[in-house]
């Protein structure tokens, strides 16, 4: 069963529903788990232990992580790379009214 567990697809809606109101997980953990950032089953326990250590370490949480932000922090270099890449631009083009719908249907 553990093996199956490790192969689960990230970003599944049902997963999020299950974890959403699970008060034993912090919102950050929910997101992390949902994204499937957890390592394989073997590392799982180690990681959790490590986490506890991390949480207890003073000054571990950067102060900016603890404040509310309306705009998330972007790494603009990554963003620039992403949005100068032709493939990414093409996929985004569907979201714009200027794109040719007929052409898309032909594909």
């Amino acid at each position: 069963a553990r093996n199956l567990h490790s192969h689960k697809k990230p970003f599944r809606t049902t997963e999020l529903v299950r974890m959403m109101y699970n008060e034993s997980l912090s919102p950050a953990d929910v997101i992390r788990k949902w994204k499937g950032d957890d390592e394989g089953p073997k590392n799982d326990e180690d990681e959790e232990e490590e986490e506890i250590f991390f949480k207890k370490a003073p000054g571990d949480d950067a102060p900016e992580n603890l404040e509310d932000r309306a705009i998330p922090i972007f790494n603009y270099e990554d963003l620039e790379e992403k949005w100068t890449d032709e493939d990414n631009l093409e996929t985004l083009r569907r979201r714009f009214a200027s794109s040719n719908l007929l052409e898309e249907k032909e594909k």
């Binding site: 919102p27 309306a70 985004l92 979201r95």
Partner: protein, 403 residues
């Protein structure tokens, strides 16, 4: 009011989503107790100036609220009163409530405006607040606040979808950027929110449509207007290939003069809040709005070209996340839906807009205040969006229950 004292306060800890909890508390009438506010910080323990300022604002637009905090400011007990708005006689003169922000404030004015707008539809009389003082920053800030232009063009139009659209105005009287060290600005903004409702309409927004136009505002305070032109040019350079209908306004103003404490020269004034920035809003064919905001950091060192480009890329990123709301607008939409009538409203959201700490936290907070849990299911279509179904609480406007 007497029954409220019997209600035990809902307990929260930490300074995260402090404002949204206070807003929820005011809307639902449940008292809250928040502990451990920056209790581990050795330098800035307790409530920050902007949070105290927000509490003062809450006190000013409500009647009968009580706010108590501990000596160190790490624990806060808030018992909400009725939202009266800018009613005459309670610190209001001529129908306008003046709210002064201290010079130490490091958050943009949108930090106050967005929650205030959430409270305003449920107010007894209209809300008319003039934000003034040396702490008003109208631009986007490096602390993650959107600019006042984004509030005006991307947040306020959302209220129309809930049937709240009359007599809402946000006047930008004086612009400012963050001053040195990211603190203070000296701007002036007036919010008039004259449409009060009994209950917001239940919404079903499932079609994101396609982006058809982009509007924006480039602003420069105390610096040359050519910065605006440079930001606009690079932003357009990125966006024009997608949307030919891109128009970015340019607003140049002088830096605000703020009096400084100086014994030898009591009339002395100082220019603060110099900088520039840009706000972009994309509108889809179904009137969904996506926004992006970047401003020059108070430490300087970034060219207008960088700012323009960053903002354009940020906008593309926001659009690519999909859904009908951006992450800036999502808390407003979700909260209004939860306050609606006891009916199921639906909202299609991008996977990565929903899957953020803020939104999950908000969902939990809402449940703590007695709202029903959200229903999530996959949307049809290949975008990978999620449809969020929210049952309203039917609390609505206590002040308007009879009317």
């Amino acid at each position: 009011m007497s029954d409220q004292t019997t209600q035990p306060p809902i307990r929260f800890s930490g300074q995260k989503s402090l404002v949204s909890r206070l807003v929820l508390s005011t809307l639902t009438g449940r008292p809250i107790r928040i502990s451990q506010i920056r209790s581990s910080s050795s330098t800035n323990t307790g409530l920050a100036p902007h949070e105290v300022s927000f509490l003062r604002l809450l006190e000013a637009i409500t009647n009968g609220s009580s706010i108590e905090f501990s000596y160190t400011g790490t624990t806060l007990v808030y018992r909400p009163g009725l939202i009266t708005g800018s009613a005459e006689g309670l610190g209001t003169s001529g129908g306008v409530l003046r709210h002064e922000l201290p010079a130490g404030c490091s958050r943009g004015i949108s930090y106050f405006l967005i929650p205030l707008c959430l409270l305003a539809p449920f107010s007894k009389s209209q809300v008319n607040v003039l934000f003034t003082g040396p702490g008003v920053i109208t631009s986007a800030t490096s602390t993650g606040d959107v600019s006042v232009d984004t509030v005006r063009t991307a947040i306020l139009p959302l209220y129309a979808q809930f049937g709240i659209s009359n007599n809402i105005e946000l006047r930008i009287l004086k612009r400012s950027s963050p001053g040195s060290g990211g603190r203070g600005g000296g701007g002036e903004v007036q919010l008039v929110f004259g449409h009060q409702v009994r209950l917001p309409k239940t919404i079903h927004i499932l079609n994101a449509g396609r982006v058809k136009k982009i509007r924006g505002v480039a602003y420069a305070t105390g610096v040359s207007g050519s910065n605006n032109a440079r930001m606009i040019e690079t932003a357009r350079g990125v966006l024009n290939q997608f949307v030919p209908d891109t128009y970015i306004f340019s607003d140049v103003s002088s830096a605000p003069l703020v009096p400084i404490e100086n014994k030898s020269n009591p009339g002395a004034k100082r220019k603060i809040g110099i900088g520039f920035g840009i706000s972009l809003v994309a509108e889809s064919s179904t009137a969904c709005l996506y926004s992006a905001d970047v401003a020059s950091p108070p430490s300087g060192g970034q060219t207008p070209e960088d700012i323009g480009k960053q903002c354009a890329y940020q906008l593309l990123e926001t659009i690519s996340k999909g859904g009908v709301v951006s992450s800036v607008a999502a808390p407003t939409m979700l909260m209004l839906m939860a306050m609606g009538s006891e009916d199921v409203g639906r909202l299609q959201m991008g996977r990565h807009v929903l899957g953020t700490e803020e939104i999950i936290g908000l969902g939990r907070d809402l449940r703590a205040f007695g709202a029903a849990g959200w229903g999530l299911r996959d949307a049809s279509g290949d975008d990978g969006d999620i449809i969020v179904s929210i049952v309203g609480r039917g609390v609505g406007n206590v002040g308007r229950k009879i009317a």
